[in-house]
């Protein structure tokens, strides 16, 4: 009989990461481990370095110091669908050797980009940064599948419609342009576009920022359902503690580029230890 795994294997490790634009501007000496299936929230006021850290973690910006280690283990969606990720010799786009720890900034740019495209997902705060506005909703949702080599139009459409449904968009709008969608709907579209390949690891930067409160609430609800259903591993940046409470299993609290407190979400929010966290929680600090 299969037992539930009690100790989940590590998926991503930050080792002593520093990326500074100036004193206390950026992130400094960050260490943590993200386990499979975990949602890690990074909170802190505006300017505390959350987005900088997320860019470093997601392969978009090289740190001044430190390492990002990604642990590859089970076959991913892309491998199961027969793309060239598992070929022993790195192909042009492939990631090469299937297993083991990848040092994100020690591997080639080619492999790093392949990783981002094939195994990871990135949800931008502004959906327009993550969507192709010139093509239909369906083309947006199925692009990552095409990048993985899927070449059946009917199947691509079916997958797009399925995912539009899962993010609570009307699948009949598959041929509509993203511009004709509201801000909240565009964000749903971006999420569908990201999750369609069932990435092993998803990075989100303020996914509900810039939306009306009522729209935010519904989106959050949907995100929570999806992360649970899919058992997603997520690193979520937000300045909004309500968002963090709803989605994150664990939190890291950042201030002036450093982590001042980390722990289980309930623990941090109900019994904050650090002065700064206490201030944050009591909402004295407004972002």
């Amino acid at each position: 009989m299969k037992r539930p795994q009690l100790i989940r294997p590590a998926l991503l490790e930050a080792r002593n990461i520093t990326r500074l634009y100036g004193p206390k501007q950026g992130c400094e000496e960050i260490d943590f481990t993200l386990h499979q299936g975990e949602v890690l929230g990074i909170v802190g006021e505006s300017g505390s370095g959350k987005s900088t850290l997320l860019r470093v973690l997601s392969g978009l910006e090289k740190p001044d110091n430190g390492q990002v280690i990604y642990h590859r283990s089970e076959p991913s969606f892309s491998e199961l669908t027969g793309t060239d990720l598992t070929t022993p010799e790195p192909a042009h786009t492939g990631l090469g050797g299937a297993e083991g720890a990848l040092d994100l900034y020690a591997i080639s740019e080619a492999r790093r980009r392949a990783l981002l495209r094939m195994e990871w997902g990135l949800v931008h705060q502004n959906p327009r940064d993550g969507l192709r506005l010139g093509v239909s909703a369906g083309a947006n949702v199925s692009e990552r599948l095409m990048a993985l080599g899927q070449r059946h139009y009917g199947n691509l459409r079916a997958a797009s419609q399925d995912w539009m449904g899962r993010v609570e968009l009307d699948p009949r709008r598959i041929d509509d342009a993203p511009r004709t969608f509201s801000g909240g709907m565009q964000q749903r579209l971006q999420i569908a576009r990201t999750l369609v390949t069932e990435p092993r690891l998803v990075f989100m930067d303020e996914p509900t920022g810039g939306l009306d409160v009522s729209v935010q609430a519904r989106l959050l609800d949907m995100l929570r359902t999806l992360t649970r259903q899919l058992g997603l591993s997520v690193i979520l940046v937000t300045h909004d503690l309500a968002v963090a409470r709803l989605l994150a299993h664990r939190l890291m609290v950042m201030r002036q580029g450093r982590v001042v407190e980390a722990g289980l979400t309930d623990q941090i929010l109900d019994d904050p230890q650090h002065d700064y966290t206490q201030l944050l929680v009591s909402s004295v600090l407004t972002p």
Partner: protein, 289 residues
């Protein structure tokens, strides 16, 4: 005007080097061509020269032709399949004057064919070179304006966006509506723009016996498809690549296997379909007669 014998044994008007370009420039272009042949479908930058014609008139193709032409070559120049358009005539006349080479309108008789927008209907042989005039060499340009980024996309084979375009075609029109400059993958590696030939000609790119060279004058890029190279038009499994077809045959020669142009015959809406490849059409009529 005095005639002189140039370094390739050809006769040319003095004042010009054989085939207009100086030997150093031609060597530079030939080196770039060798690179292009070694990496089928890959765009090689080259130090393009000014030609005595404006961009858009085939200056990229002309520089390639000038670089490969020898005194014994027989040159044919076509524009949309025809030998007698202004563009074709002026390029042909140019090489007659600056290289003194023999010219022809016969596809079979030519050793070098410079072309805009068509591949001749008559199958080419391994003794022939086809030189394409290319306006926009970069197939990814429609989605990505940055040259640096498109080069990275080629290097990493990030070609998902090419199918996004085809997907969008089908979503809008019910079928792949791209009919010219239909993108291809060369030797299972590089995505390439075959220049604005009709997709009717795409199958001729595949495993062709002739060497095919592509030159873009404005963007100073050249690329190549060596003989017997696999060239596949991008498509979907359930929307396979298809070429144009016509219900009628050529009104002049009766050919039913050639690319047809629609010609308006009067102002009462009369029209007919004729071969775009004028040499092919004449050969067909010759056989019938």
């Amino acid at each position: 005007m005095t005639l002189r014998v140039d370094d390739q044994g050809g006769l040319a008007y003095s004042g010009y080097n054989f085939a207009y370009l100086d030997e150093q420039t031609k060597r530079m272009i030939r080196r770039a061509l060798l690179k292009a042949v070694a990496i089928p479908g890959y765009q090689v930058p080259f130090g393009g020269r000014e030609m005595p014609m404006p961009y858009g008139w085939g200056t990229g193709g002309m520089q390639l032709t000038a670089s490969i032409l020898g005194a014994d070559d027989v040159l044919k120049v076509i524009d949309q399949g025809a030998d007698d358009t202004t563009n074709a005539v002026s390029i042909r006349t140019f090489f007659e004057r600056v290289a003194g080479v023999e010219t022809t309108t016969s596809t079979a008789a030519a050793s070098v064919i410079q072309t805009r927008h068509r591949i001749p209907e008559l199958p080419l042989s391994r003794h022939q070179i086809l030189v394409f005039q290319v306006p926009i060499p970069e197939p990814l340009r429609f989605i990505e304006p940055s040259e640096e980024e498109t080069r990275v996309m080629h290097a990493l084979e990030e070609y998902g966006v090419m199918h996004v375009k085809l997907y969008e075609d089908i979503a809008r029109h019910g079928h792949i509506a791209t009919t010219y400059a239909y993108p291809v993958k060369v030797d299972e590696r590089y995505v390439m723009d075959p220049s604005p030939i009709p997709k009717f000609d795409n199958p001729k790119l595949d495993m062709n016996e002739a060497l095919m060279l592509f030159g873009a004058g404005r963007e100073k890029r050249l690329y190549a498809i060596p003989p017997y190279t696999q060239v596949k038009s991008l498509d979907f499994e359930d929307h396979p690549f298809e070429i144009q077809s016509w219900d009628e045959a050529c009104a002049l020669c009766g050919a039913s296997d050639s690319y047809l142009d629609e010609v308006i015959t009067d102002d009462q809406g009369g029209r007919m379909f004729v071969c775009s490849d004028t040499d092919y059409c004449q050969q067909c009529r010759g056989e019938v007669a």
